[in-house]
Symmetry: D2
Subunit: 354 residues, 4 copies
Amino acid sequence: MAGNTFGTAFRLTTFGESHGPALGGVIDGCPPGIALDAVQIQAELDKRRPGQGGIAVTARAEPDQVRLLSGVFEGRTTGTSIGFVIENTDQRSHDYSAIKHIFRPGHGDMSYHAKYGLRDYRGGGRASGRETVSRVVGGAVAGLFLRTLDITVQAGTIELGGIAVPNTELAHAEERPFFAAHADAPALWEERIKDVAGAGDSLGGVVEIQAHGVPAGLGEPVFDKLDARLAAAVMSIGAVKGVEIGAGFASARMLGSEHNDPMTSTGFASNNAGGILAGISSGQTICLRVAVKPIPSIAQNQRTIDCLGQEQHITIGGRHDICAIPRIVPVLAAMVRLVLADAVLLQRRISGAP
Amino acid sequence: MAGNTFGTAFRLTTFGESHGPALGGVIDGCPPGIALDAVQIQAELDKRRPGQGGIAVTARAEPDQVRLLSGVFEGRTTGTSIGFVIENTDQRSHDYSAIKHIFRPGHGDMSYHAKYGLRDYRGGGRASGRETVSRVVGGAVAGLFLRTLDITVQAGTIELGGIAVPNTELAHAEERPFFAAHADAPALWEERIKDVAGAGDSLGGVVEIQAHGVPAGLGEPVFDKLDARLAAAVMSIGAVKGVEIGAGFASARMLGSEHNDPMTSTGFASNNAGGILAGISSGQTICLRVAVKPIPSIAQNQRTIDCLGQEQHITIGGRHDICAIPRIVPVLAAMVRLVLADAVLLQRRISGAP
Amino acid sequence: MAGNTFGTAFRLTTFGESHGPALGGVIDGCPPGIALDAVQIQAELDKRRPGQGGIAVTARAEPDQVRLLSGVFEGRTTGTSIGFVIENTDQRSHDYSAIKHIFRPGHGDMSYHAKYGLRDYRGGGRASGRETVSRVVGGAVAGLFLRTLDITVQAGTIELGGIAVPNTELAHAEERPFFAAHADAPALWEERIKDVAGAGDSLGGVVEIQAHGVPAGLGEPVFDKLDARLAAAVMSIGAVKGVEIGAGFASARMLGSEHNDPMTSTGFASNNAGGILAGISSGQTICLRVAVKPIPSIAQNQRTIDCLGQEQHITIGGRHDICAIPRIVPVLAAMVRLVLADAVLLQRRISGAP
Amino acid sequence: MAGNTFGTAFRLTTFGESHGPALGGVIDGCPPGIALDAVQIQAELDKRRPGQGGIAVTARAEPDQVRLLSGVFEGRTTGTSIGFVIENTDQRSHDYSAIKHIFRPGHGDMSYHAKYGLRDYRGGGRASGRETVSRVVGGAVAGLFLRTLDITVQAGTIELGGIAVPNTELAHAEERPFFAAHADAPALWEERIKDVAGAGDSLGGVVEIQAHGVPAGLGEPVFDKLDARLAAAVMSIGAVKGVEIGAGFASARMLGSEHNDPMTSTGFASNNAGGILAGISSGQTICLRVAVKPIPSIAQNQRTIDCLGQEQHITIGGRHDICAIPRIVPVLAAMVRLVLADAVLLQRRISGAP
């Protein structure tokens, strides 16, 4: 109810601020008997690190180390809750006096202040993108579970700074800079980023996520449709401003005869639905795209106000990411894995465990 | 968990199939003392009727009458659960043998069959858009509550069949055909619909929803961000394939310096955020847009399969809507009202009732 | 969150006041394919009627008729939500002016007033025992599901007005007056009731509930232990003031060597645990007992206060039950069935459907 | 859903096994601005230590140190989730081969094995009473919040090994051995424990918990009555086999005229209701009692079976507690605090924050 728990049957509860002692969480509902070790989780976490997914579009070094505290015995999950912690190693006492009373544009400073009456102003506190480390750990455990059912999730960048890939190849995205969905894109994007960084500005982009091997029948009717759950999952990530499933916004301009995916004895002839019919998976590849806004922390001078409502100007110093991509890509994959693990478990009440 | 409940503090649970005896639901958590009578609810329900929101793009007559069964005493809510029922008056025994074993393309027939192993094949059963009558009733009650706080929700069509409005005017949308967001649009859309209807085809569109008077501080951090809740709410409606908040997908092509909304002593200077910062309302107008796919029931001959996986052809007879717009518009407004009523109550645990 | 929903995977949401137009609810999560018709549900509902379960300890005639509105197709559940309604046929405009401003001792009048600031004073409104009709319907559906797994629930009265049965025989309790757990008890209880009724007073008692055929492994560790769920389920019924599992309060006086149930190759040698070990079912018969307080509506003159806090006297007229037994007995069985149906579905995420 | 989360608005999620690396949890929903430091939490945790609450009825030394990881800034809660960890310092590699394949009578070994198919056999794993350290931390934070509203919770032992206190004095229970509810009891209980310990056996008892200063109006009607929540809360602790509110089981033997608490202009004239009417707090002291079973680990030889169902004998070595009292007493108080903090926040959606 207070927003720090995701999922129903496969459930992740997280905690932690960008500059507190540690971040972490509790994974509840993971079935017993899943092979699990910290090395596998760590590998997923490392994908979110600066420098991963291609060239360094971030300047911060965060050697995030996950420590599993429970729920695993002799290398397998026991079915009980899995606690984990990631220490904040870089807790130097920075000087935050510059932003203590000033609301940074595009950040949650103003809205958190309105909500709670007080806020942890150090680096965004709970509203910092740093909280996503816990999502990645949760998603990694979900992924290990899904792998036992041959369900896999891939994510890749299909547009950055207004430059789209010519076509989408997610299979190798993980090996490319920016998790690019096409081999030609990174060079163009790198140049674009350099230009924008030089101007003290920032960029956004579009990421596509696909889930393969998802059986038909997942998702719940009416309010908890699989696409509704996926939309909530990705929209809950700070930088995401839009989400579309299958043909998405293009659907609004299609005719019914174009949009309907014909069914044949060998499967669907197209996938405008994005693998979901009436909110329930159809057995096709699940496909969604999200819009990622530009990083709000920019080196340019901006107009804003302080806690008292008085006008101020702010120039955000330090070394900030120029784009939430590529670091957001493994986070998006993690959220989709959490949704699917949850949907698989919910469906077991009807069809049973495979 | 089985998908028929929406919300946490202000909660709607619904039931009903398109051709069952009745539809209805339970509204739980509405604060006590709200003035409420069935006439007000009925008015909202009537907006969803064929012929409403402009010219008849549907041919079915459904005089939906809501009956309140509890939770109201001497004209005011008591704080206990509000049960309601809408009888299905038109329960003639149609002949559904044509679609009993065949999966209609673009419908949930195939995915429901995969999920449950059996299905109510009469007109889509629970997957029918008819279930949205219960959402409208729930949203109407939420709206009466929000009105006591001067929070209002408006929705209007900004694009239909590929024809967009020149600019958006939601204030009078409710009075126009198609709930059009501009006075010039209906004539163009009507013509487009006639052409497409003549070809036995169908259309989609885009709807914008705005919430005015929303105080800053609503929404929960991390997973239950206000935009995540809104995205889930609208994506849970059958025909919706995409949702964007504020600048939405356009954000992906903007620079940080363009996207950040400057704050001044008299308020924000722009609203690319769509009224939500870090998942929490900022006090600005909340603004979202959804993509509505074309109606899947078309009069053209389509390829499909039956329950046994054998290829079939289907031409869907009867008189179906050509476009989910305008009927989906009051449903979208209802869902946004439900999200906001919930968020208001959740925030009271911190800031108290106004 | 507002109290009108019970269960997680098998979920009942109810509505209705004692003197409103109707009561009812929504059952969500019942698996598809369960044979279901209103006659079977009605039979369970009839057990709660005055005159059932033995001699008339109530004077009110309530021919409660349940009407199923959804979720059932061709005689079987479809897996979607099951809506139901029970009309309040006896809605004559009684004169409630006597209790409009006065709080009846032992009733929720005072606490509801404190909670909501207003209340439906007609016969207790939502706090009336009349709401339990919806529980019985939900429990009946749960029972039909459990029967497919050979899980059965029995309930019987083991003490009334201080007179306990010599020993407990639940197998035939349903056929006896008061759902008595022993054939000799009804005659003694009938006499006791007559005496007390003559004095304008009321009585309580103790009910035992057993569940047979429950497989080992149901219940969740730590907070959602099966006994915790059962305790909440029965304690949520208005008249219940205590609950014990297995040896219950007697456990507090036993030695560990007495209390521990030895395990043998043919099963447990005793059942002090009541079929639950560490919150998880052990495969033994689940056994619990609840304390039922005397009916608070009595014909004697009582001291009380009104809404303004001023002292008043009240004598509750009309024809009221002398004892919540036997009518509470099928309600208790219903609640236990709801808990078990929920636990079965939750366990399927691990072990799969049988 | 998997059992490791308690509460709705004030919510505790826990993890940890008796012999894993660490235990801990996440507290979600604590309002912002509550003064909080680890020293205060630690003080509550220390009450659960062996040797506390009187003479050592346990022989294990567990210097549990709580470490707060988030949600607190400059000494006050921020409204975001509070993560905490308690390291298991004594993680020597014990030899558990004796119980690896054998089910200890009265423990969850058998039922956990049935549920999960595998289990962490080291000291009971997740089923160990050691998990209650996380409850105490959660309850301590809840207590700090409740204290700002002048709501306090007291708990004390009223019976041990069959020896009851002559009358109940909870105000000073915390200062006495065994958290005894009367000054004369500890000496008698100590003697009883010595005798039983000498015989290799164990004991149970009864604990009373009272909540003072609880305003009228807390709790939700129908299923989430305050007494239902309290019953679930305390019954979720491993050793508890029964719970009663107010007059409890004695109510079953009372007349209505005896049981009803008369209301006067200066308050209630008695408290058989235990402070709860129709599931909603009445403003009186909330009063409940729980039955604590004897510790199942005993030094005597017991009959049991192994994983293969073959008969075995077991004598549980090591140094075990003789009685769950006194260590369970602060755990019971913690659970009641969690319920009340939750109820306070839920009521704010109606009445607002004070």
